[in-house]
Every structure is written in C-alpha cells, then in structure tokens.
Amino acid sequence: MNEHEDFEHLLRQGLKPRQTPAGFTARVMARLPGTSQVRSLRKERAFWVPAMRWATAAALLVVAGGSYWQHEQKERVAGERARGQLILALRMSATTLNDVQHKVLRSTKGDAE
C-alpha cells in the first residue's frame, strides 16, 4: 500500500456510519402526519389497486345488469301489449264469425220457409 492508498484506507475506517441517538426512529415516526392513521404506503397501494379494480368491475356489472333488466322490461311490456291485441283480435274474429253464422242460419231458415 502506498501513502495515498494508506490514507484513503484510514479515511474509510474513520468514516464508518455513526449510530443515531437513542430513540431516533420513534421521534421520526411521531412526526409523521396523522401518525395514528398512517398506513404502509406500499401495502395501501397493494390494497387499493385490486380494490379499485373490483369496484370498477362491480360497477360495470351493475350498469350492464340494469341495462339488461330495462331491455327485458320493455320486451315484456311490448309482448303483453301484442298478446292483448291478439286476444282482442281473436275475440273480434269470434264475434264476427258468430254474427256471420247467425246471418247464414237466418237466411237458410228463410229460404226453407
């Protein structure tokens, strides 16, 4: 080792990290904003990112489900309306047929007499 390296070695020896004063960590932690509710940032992120994903998926499901239900309701109402119209049409047809039948019978009776 030459003199220069010797001196550099001494510097490294003499500049090893010092110990912090006792209670340093506690004093830092006490100064953190909102210490009692402080959360681990990485854990918080680890929690919130999947949580946000699930919440978004749930919201999309609700919106999609709601649209589907609304569509089904419209279809059901339209179907019921069509069914009612069909029944009405059938009733009218039956009534008309009865009328025609009575007229035919009446005219047949008249011819016979």
Binding site: D6, L11, P17, F24, V28, T35, S36, S40, L41, R42
Partner: protein, 171 residues
C-alpha cells in the same frame, strides 16, 4: 403504533445511520444533524410514491441529506483557510464522541474542509461512491468532483501529518 406503519419504520431503521452520519459530518453538530436527518425522513415519507427501487431510495437519501445539511450549514458558515486557523479550530473543537479515536480525528479533519469538498469526501469514503456517481448525486461536473477530491485529500493529508501519525504507523 399500528403494525401497518412497520414498513416505513423498517426503512428509517435501515437507513438512519447513513443519513445521520452524512448530516453530522457535514454539520459537526449532533442536535442539528438529528433535526436534518428527521426532516429528510419526513420528506421521504411525502415523496414515497416516487421511489421506484431500493437503489433509488439510497441515492435519494444521499442526495437530499447532503443538500439539506449543506442548506443548514449555510445558515452558520465556517470555512477554514490557513494552517494557523485550522490549528486554532482543532484546539477549540471537542474531540467528539466517535466510536474510536481515529474516527474522531478523521471527522475533525473532514469538518475542517470547505463544504463542497466535505460533501464529496463523505460520498467517496463513507458512502463508497465512484466519482461519476458523486457527480450525479451532487449535480456537479465530474471534473469538479475530481478536483474537490484531490484538493481535499491534499489538505487533509497535510493537516493529518501530526494528528494521524500514530495511526499511519500502525497500519
């Protein structure tokens, strides 16, 4: 303290010695060094989302600590120029509470350097950074870092001839 704060506590525990040592060796005063070190960790807490890796964390802590300690030092500047002034300063400065006598002597030699040289020497010999890394940490041209290092070593060796004679003899 809730267990959930454990991660930040672990970071403080893992890096406090490095941060405090830099602050102390820039400032030469335990009380101010602790204040600066605490402030650095509070700043880290606020900037934590921007820290991408352990290496980034270590580099961030070094850079911010040097800057905050240097800012604190500017509020009470003291730069020694002549040999006589240094002798007076060494005589009046307490030997400190380093882990062993050599550490105290080395710390006193570092503390007697101009602030820019002091920061470069600490990053080189305490943090074991290469000159290029020091230039990056201090946002300083590489040539300036090398020049500071050379001047600091020359100055410290000249001053250490008496104070460190016994240690060099034993090496």
């Amino acid at each position: 303290m809730p267990g959930i704060t454990g991660e930040f506590r672990e970071i403080v525990e893992a890096h406090q010695s490095r941060v405090y040592s830099i602050a102390y060796r820039v400032l030469g005063d335990r009380g101010t060094a602790e204040e600066v070190a605490q402030d650095v960790f509070l700043e880290l807490y606020r900037a934590f989302d921007a820290i991408a890796s352990d290496e980034h964390l270590a580099a961030w802590l070094r850079r911010v600590t040097v800057h905050r300690a240097t800012d604190a030092l500017r509020r009470r500047p003291r730069t020694l120029h002549g040999a006589a002034e240094f002798e007076d300063w060494m005589a009046e400065t307490p030997k400190g509470d380093g882990p062993f006598p050599l550490a105290s002597e080395i710390e006193r030699l570092v503390l007697a350097l101009p602030p820019a040289q002091r920061a470069v020497v600490l990053l080189r010999y305490q943090e074991d950074l290469r000159p290029g890394e020091i230039a990056e940490t201090l946002a300083m041209p590489l040539a300036t870092v090398k020049s500071h290092l050379q001047r600091a070593l020359k100055l410290m060796r000249a001053r250490a001839e008496d104070t460190l004679k016994e240690y060099t003899r034993h090496e």
